[in-house]
Symmetry: C2
Subunit: 243 residues, 2 copies
DNA sequence: CGCCTCTTTGACACGTGTCAACGACGGTGG
DNA sequence: CCACCGTCGTTGACACGTGTCAAAGAGGCG
């Protein structure tokens, strides 16, 4: 299975223009980025970068979902990050990365060669500042995930995961009719949540049996009761729904 | 129990001079920091900052250990970071934090009022750059911890924890005679590792029974066989000892 | 149509949490 | 100086959640 390398769109028309690393750039800065960038695409399941490999390029995710994962010697793996459109791969001043980056769905990246990009970062406070914000956002979500991994039950993990997906995907629908698409297989969800795929499957079934969610097929789910779902996450009772 | 607020030492004589946020500063920049800083001390167990509280100051840890933790509605808590000397509290552009910061041991901080410090960051690339590095280091260790929380067994978690302490504390001793001090109670270790305090205690006992570690008292432990300890961490077999 | 991957479900095992009792240590006050 | 008390740590018995192993169903693609 091959994926065509899409031709890059103009930065000014880019769907992630306002949230990616270029979010704060003025027109001149954008022109400079424009001249440096290349688009690359990866099919679902394909490796984007391997741990320890020298880092030739950095990139923003234009479309699709990528994951960061770490593996123990005996093969147990844990996802340590989920990258969505506008998220950034690679860091200034780091020549390699400490985890594998994999395309979870089909992915399109807006790539920059690392060395010239680092030069640009040094000369462009707007970009440096935005990179800092993106890193801090990742740090916050990593810490939320540590709480989930260390202290939540399987049911709470699944409920939290679904709630996160619903919040990010579909705010257009009427309340109590939230629908969303699972962007990954049961196995990948298990690796994200620190569970086995069997436990993931069982917890989905249990939430379905309790009337909180429903599946139209494997990937598409409807949250029938968002309040009840939130009650299952273990987080503050006021939290999400009313916020 | 009160802790005296130590008078600040000269930046040029500061023990964390070469690793903290000021690491890359030249003499002029250091003078400016010097004029802004205040020392504060906190006794073991004391709260330094509460989640959601407006962030009045940022700080570097001069001595002692502080922890970041998150709590679920029913009281389950998870440490999401351990701050050692030279680590930084607070972020540019964030007016509050999403976790509690607590003094684990007696702690001394080098504090700066947030607003003037942010101004300084904007005007001082050396500081901005160093802050970025510190954030990325934290992100890397958060991700290592996610792997531990999600996939390691209790014994692997304890072995990893001890190995981390030994690496950071005592490189002066001869091989196979590594000694270290546990900077926290069993309960705090449990919250760091996503375990219960009983499990922590049992795993310490098991490693002692297997001749891998030994205790002279509750806090002081000797690693009698560092290679065997590393074998218990679940990490790559080549990893630490030979590196 | 048949193969392959993904998913579901069941039976069972085992690691870790829970509950409880006891022991060790350190500080305080008589 | 010693007795007391509170905190912290250890150990045991048991329960329960989640992992493991196994089999079969569901859907997609050649």
């Amino acid at each position: 299975m091959t994926v065509p390398h899409l031709t890059a769109v103009k930065c000014s028309e880019c769907p992630i223009r306002h949230r990616a690393v270029c979010a704060r750039c003025d027109t001149d800065e954008l022109d400079r980025l424009e001249s440096m960038k290349t688009y690359r695409s990866f099919a679902a399941g394909e490796a984007i970068l391997w741990r320890g490999e020298p880092l030739e390029f950095v990139a923003s995710i234009v479309s699709g979902v990528a994951s960061l994962s770490k593996t123990l010697e005996d093969g147990r793996t844990q996802m340590v990050g989920l990258l969505l459109p506008s998220d950034f791969i690679g860091r200034p001043g780091r020549s390699e990365i400490e985890f594998d980056v994999t395309a979870t769905s089909d992915v399109t990246l807006c790539c920059f060669d690392r060395k010239p990009f680092e030069k640009l970062v040094d000369e462009t406070p707007h970009v440096a500042h935005r990179l800092m914000e993106l890193a801090l956002d990742e740090l916050d979500s990593a810490r939320d995930w540590m709480l989930l991994l260390g202290r939540k039950t399987a049911r709470e993990k699944i409920a939290t995961f679904i709630e996160m997906l619903v919040r990010r995907s579909d705010l257009r629908n009427a309340p109590n009719n939230h629908t969303t698409v699972l962007p990954m297989t049961r196995d990948q969800i298990a690796n994200y949540l620190g569970l086995t795929l069997e436990t993931v499957s069982r917890q989905f079934s249990a939430l379905k049996k309790d009337g909180i969610i429903d599946f139209s097929d494997r990937k598409n789910l409807v949250v029938k009761n968002l309040f009840a779902l939130h009650q299952e996450t273990g987080d503050d009772s006021d939290g999400g729904v009313l916020a």
